[in-house]
Amino acid sequence: MKQIAVSMRGISKRFGKKVLANNKVDLDIYEGEILSLLGENGSGKTTLMNMLAGVYYPDEGQIFIKNTEVSITSPKDAYDLGIGMIHQHFKLIDVFTALENILIGLPSDEREKTCREEVEEICNKYGFELDLDKKIYDMSVSEKETLEIVKTLYRGADILILDEPTAVLTPQEIRKLFTILRNMKEDGKSIVIITHKLNEVMEISDRISVLRKGENVGTVLKSETNEQQLTEMMVGEKITLDIARDFVEDKAKRLEVKHLRVKNADDKMVVDDISFDLYSGEILGIAGISGSGQKELLEAIMGLQKCEEGSSVIYNSTAHGVHELVGLSTKEIIAHGLHLAFVPEDRLGMGLVGNMGMTDNVMLKRYRKGSGPFLHRKQPEATAQKIKDELEVLTPDLEYPVRKLSGGNVQKILVGREINNKPTVLMTAYAVRGLDINTSYAIYNLLNEQKKKGVAVIYVGEDLDVLLALCDRIMVLCSGKLNGILDGRSASKEEVGYLMTHLKQEEE
């Protein structure tokens, strides 16, 4: 029988008066195991673990480490007890080197040289690859993740908590990480992974605890469960996990992108000579490591980025005729009545105004059309009501600031507004980022409906499983270049992952 490393009893945590993040949670973590903490967004996984890591302090409940009750009031306390957490947003300092990041906060009698040697020893033991003199801003996400783990181990952590460690890694990098986690498990460490990706849970964990609405709804052994059961535990009801993908006949070319090139503020080519066609009745997925030019590509089509000479985007619609989009501003595109809809990545930054209600946000794109100096609110109000009813947006009323709504509701409002204009082309960037399973599926369904109506849809995504299930074609970007277009029905995850990380050599 394995020893219990940590046990949490009756842990509750509130934020303000309304939000009960954790409600009387019991949880055990054993030595030498990998425990997955599964749950939807907002189910309280991260909050629970933050209390173990000393970031938050529980309102109620007890924590026992190796059968001794402890009080963890700061991250330092947690380190002293051998608990280390790797947060989803890495706690690293950009302008420091890897070694400096390990050194901060250590007692000053800890010599830099001995520290370097010990870190190298850890790397060799578990198989990490790390350049200690590299600055963080030069590092890839996976290097940063490695550094975080090494840092935590160097500080003597026996209990490692990883918050969504695979969110931004490629399939190849995930496999490498899992190998290392298994090595650490063999070494007797306790590992907790916070995640909502079922396939990874089934691959790596020994036991799985599921949280729903802040409560622990059960702990199961991996060997005795399956994905369907876990999903039901997570959402509390039966749902189907399949994403529909219909085949639409009569495709017509809607966008013809030719030699599109965009430079960023540093004069670096971020979209480098990309050409592709987009058809009605299809969902074109765009895959790539974040920052490979996805954002700039969509923004360039939308008139938000200055394109280099020779770029061309031909918009072709039955209703509005043929237009060259390069050179037009967003305002002109809207004024011409061209039906391009854009759901940006930064919902509350570029998409909606957080402090305004639904009605005002609906008006944003059309207030110029009114006559006279006063706003006409009747029609937008009706539209907002329609979006609220059809997409089941949960908001106290139409004037409630959208900033205060959950991410899923914010996204529904944004998508609702964009499709309300009956777009010819609908572009979405990370449309389900941060959304729970139910809302994600609601968004997939919306996109599928639009596709059936003959809209040409672009879906920039990060979850390869979803891209492969939803999209008709998948375009892979790699450092700003187009690295291949695959058929969504036949491509494999490994193929897409390979194209994301390995730029094809230019033909001689």
């Binding site: 970031v55 991250p75 330092k76 380190y79 950009d94 302008v95 901060i104 000053s108």
Partner: protein, 343 residues
């Protein structure tokens, strides 16, 4: 322009530069901890008036004043008063999480008020405007370096004709640079300013670092105020808030130096040269420029010269921001309060 003019221009520039060098070093420590303390002009005034009041009271109430005692008392008064101002800033921004810009600007207004209140009262005690003088104590601060003063020709008259506090500022600039770059405490301090959440998670006491940075930084700014009173205006006082203008230049100098006190050692003097340019630029050049710019009166040129320190700052900001080197940027969390439990 004669050699003696060049010498006196440089000497004036060094005196001016020293005031803002202290302010710049102090503010850099503040900003490295993530606190944009816009109260520097206020803290300098508080430091300045504290030394003046101390010297005035000591000189007038002790029958046989000792210059050494007076000097040390002045320094202590300045350090204590400016430390209190720094502690007030830290209490408001770190503990109470008040907006840093508002707090800093208010501290400047407070400092101006305190300085003018006590300045006005001291003037009444001494018998009217312009009568205040603590030259007895000021002489101690202006004491020249032994062995070196008056030697090495032109070079010597520029470099070795100052009071000891000018050289202390240089030592401090290099010392603080070494502290930031090479010591573990300096590394921790920079971590706090870059990303307090990370520093916190690494076990650094963010609150303590921020408090100490605000207090020590303010003490150094306060010494700048002392130098202004004792050396720059030679132990006198006027309720004209000139010192406030210098305080703002010290804040600009922090940006000019890309948060490196080492660069302040020449940047501050360059600001000094620019500041005094309107007096020393030969009339021939002014006439020529005035003709080119079709100005009716040559004296208008002087007003344009007075813009030089600000123009230089703008030019440097443009150049630095074009380079986009991450190490030259402000600390990443500058201006933001830190809440551990923020969601």
């Amino acid at each position: 322009m004669s050699a003696s003019q060049i010498i006196s221009w440089c000497v004036a520039a060094i005196t001016f530069g020293t005031v803002i060098m202290y302010g710049c070093i102090g503010e850099t420590i503040n900003q490295k901890a993530g606190d944009l303390n816009l109260g520097v002009p206020g803290v300098m005034q508080i430091g300045g008036i504290a030394s003046l009041a101390c010297a005035f009271l000591y000189e007038n109430n002790v029958s046989a004043p000792n210059p050494w005692v007076s000097m040390i008392l002045c320094l202590l008064a300045t350090l204590v008063a400016s430390a209190l101002a720094g502690a007030l800033y830290a209490f408001l921004t770190v503990t109470q999480k008040v907006n840093q810009n508002v707090t800093g600007l208010t501290l400047t207004i407070l400092g101006t008020g305190i300085a003018n209140f006590f300045g006005g009262n001291l003037m009444k005690l001494s018998g009217g405007v312009g009568t205040i003088s603590v030259s007895f104590t000021a002489a101690m601060f202006k004491a020249k370096l032994p062995f070196l003063f008056g030697k090495f020709g032109t070079f010597g008259s520029i470099v070795f004709s100052h009071g000891w506090m000018v050289y202390l500022a240089l030592l401090l600039a290099f010392g603080i640079q070494f502290f930031l770059d090479r010591t573990r405490t300096g590394l921790n301090l920079r971590a706090v300013g870059e990303n307090p959440a990370t520093a916190d998670a690494a076990g650094i006491n963010v609150t303590r670092y921020k408090y100490l940075a605000a207090i020590i930084g303010s003490m150094i700014c306060g010494v700048g105020g002392l130098f202004y009173v004792m050396d720059y205006i030679q132990g006198t006082w006027a309720n004209d808030s000139t010192i406030e203008a210098l305080g703002w230049l010290a804040v600009a100098l922090v940006i000019f130096t890309s948060w490196r006190p080492r660069n302040a050692t020449w940047g501050a003097y360059l600001f000094g040269l620019c500041y005094w340019a309107y007096i020393y630029i030969p009339t021939g050049i002014s006439k020529f420029l005035a003709d080119k710019l079709k100005l009716q009166n040559v004296t208008y040129m002087q007003n344009l010269y007075k813009m030089l320190p600000y123009l230089v700052t703008i030019v440097v900001l443009c150049v630095v921001s074009r380079k986009k080197k991450r190490e030259n940027q402000a600390p990443a969390s500058l201006g933001q309060s830190y809440f551990r439990e923020e969601r």
